[in-house]
Amino acid sequence: MTRPNAPEQMPYEGPPDYRVVGRHAVFPQTDHDEIERINFLAQMNRHLSTRVVPGVRAAYDNRIAPGFEKANGRALADRHEARRASLQDPAFTLWSALRRMTMEQRQQAGRWTAIRQREALAEKAAALTEGDTRLRLDPSLPIPRYVSAVDHHCMPGSYHSEYFPGDVTNGANYDHAGFVTTAGLLGKYSDGGGHAVVKWVQRNFPDFKPQAILEIGGTVGHSSLPIAIAYPEAHMTVADLGAPVLRYGLARAKSLGVDNISFVQASGEDLSIFPDASFDWIQTTMFLHELSNSALDNIMRETRRLLKPGGIVLHVEQPQFTPDMPLFEQVMRDWDAFYNNEPFWSRMHELDLDQHMVDAGFDREKLIHGGVTGVVDRDLFPDAAEDDTEDYGRKAAWHVIGATV
């Protein structure tokens, strides 16, 4: 288990002090109490997953499942029935209430810090991005209902709302306080997912020399920058619906010394701004669950159209539901769908993604399957591969599904 940020002689398990996070030009300033609020909330999430969830599991095993069986003469049939039965149990509801309010407190804490300095952040972002052709915004872009109807992970205003021209508030909130949810498992620049993808591709496709790379739904570039850095001969394009995250993303990238990257406001469902066969590599990272059924299929068709011959598409996601996954784990993994504003999470994780890929025009023989865990600076951050805590649906351990063409 991990001992981030702690001398060897001091045993410690848990998130590192927030002060080890990496900063850049548009990273919001955080005063003492703002930092300690984030530290507290990261510890709250860890407490819930390590100290409270075992009690929820015991309630499920000892009361919820047997109670249902006794009352109905049969076992719980599926995760939906198991979730509804769990909602009748005080262990599940108390944990749920605490988990929900911790997320709300995280959003409030992050928004406080971002909003109080948002004019200054916008000025810094403007100084870094104005006149730069690597930022292409489209104010006429409609925001689809799967993004606008409920704010994903209870983040008010989601990725796309802007409060004044040039605003980066929601990018700054998303970037600097995500630490609360990941407890440091995504590393110094919240980029452990991107590093994991790079490591996986370099191991599995050592001769791959991409020139043009696209990340769809890349927000501020957390996962894209490690790819751009690992392939300096290539140009990385980040497409996203949200102007605040894209402005923030280019400013962040440039101030971190990453220049082979562009940020484009576009829907992954319609990337007609790019001609057929434009990219060698198309990536999505923890993105598919924030879509809709039709959007997922449209995006898969667009990725097929946009890939060059010999190109690769990779989607990194939390694991799918499978018949051998215990119902308790399924209920826990489903929690975000119902109680943390991730409406597509539940249905997305039961899809036959292979079939969707094939329907989008990919060759079944050329599908790719794998698994990755977050790659971080292990001197300071906990390593997901060695971390035995399980915060269902949030751990930095993902499945890879993709294809070559």
Partner: protein, 119 residues
């Protein structure tokens, strides 16, 4: 003004109907309590920061805090401060107890009806 904006908007509701897992009033009070706990944690960290900075600057040794003994007058001031804090926080318990001791308790609305009625 950004601080006013932050006060007004940091706690904005996310789009999407909020689920309540417990009785809504109970969950509301729990949410207030947990936000207060958060601020208590922040205050404790701030005190710890102060102690360490003061020690670093040679103003005090933190061990002096652990072995601190107030003089008798200070001890009484501190004891009264604790009593005051408890009394403030448990006001509602005091008021419930006082109400339980009354033979009858009349509501303002009833008195209003009584003294405002025409003869």
């Amino acid at each position: 003004m950004s601080v006013n904006d932050a006060i007004a908007q940091a706690g904005a509701k996310a789009a999407g109907k909020r689920p309540y897992f417990l009785d809504e009033e109970v969950e509301t009070v729990l949410a207030i309590t947990m936000a207060t706990v958060q601020e208590l944690a922040v205050s404790r960290q701030r005190i710890d920061t102060l102690e360490r900075l003061l020690e670093d600057k040679g103003v005090l040794k933190r061990q002096e805090i652990e072995t601190f003994t107030p003089d008798p007058a200070a001890a009484i001031e501190r004891a009264l401060s604790n009593q005051e804090l408890i009394a403030r926080i448990l006001r509602i318990v005091q008021q419930r107890n006082e109400a339980a001791d009354l033979a009858s308790d009349v509501a303002s609305e009833e008195v209003g009806n009584e003294i405002g009625s025409r003869p």
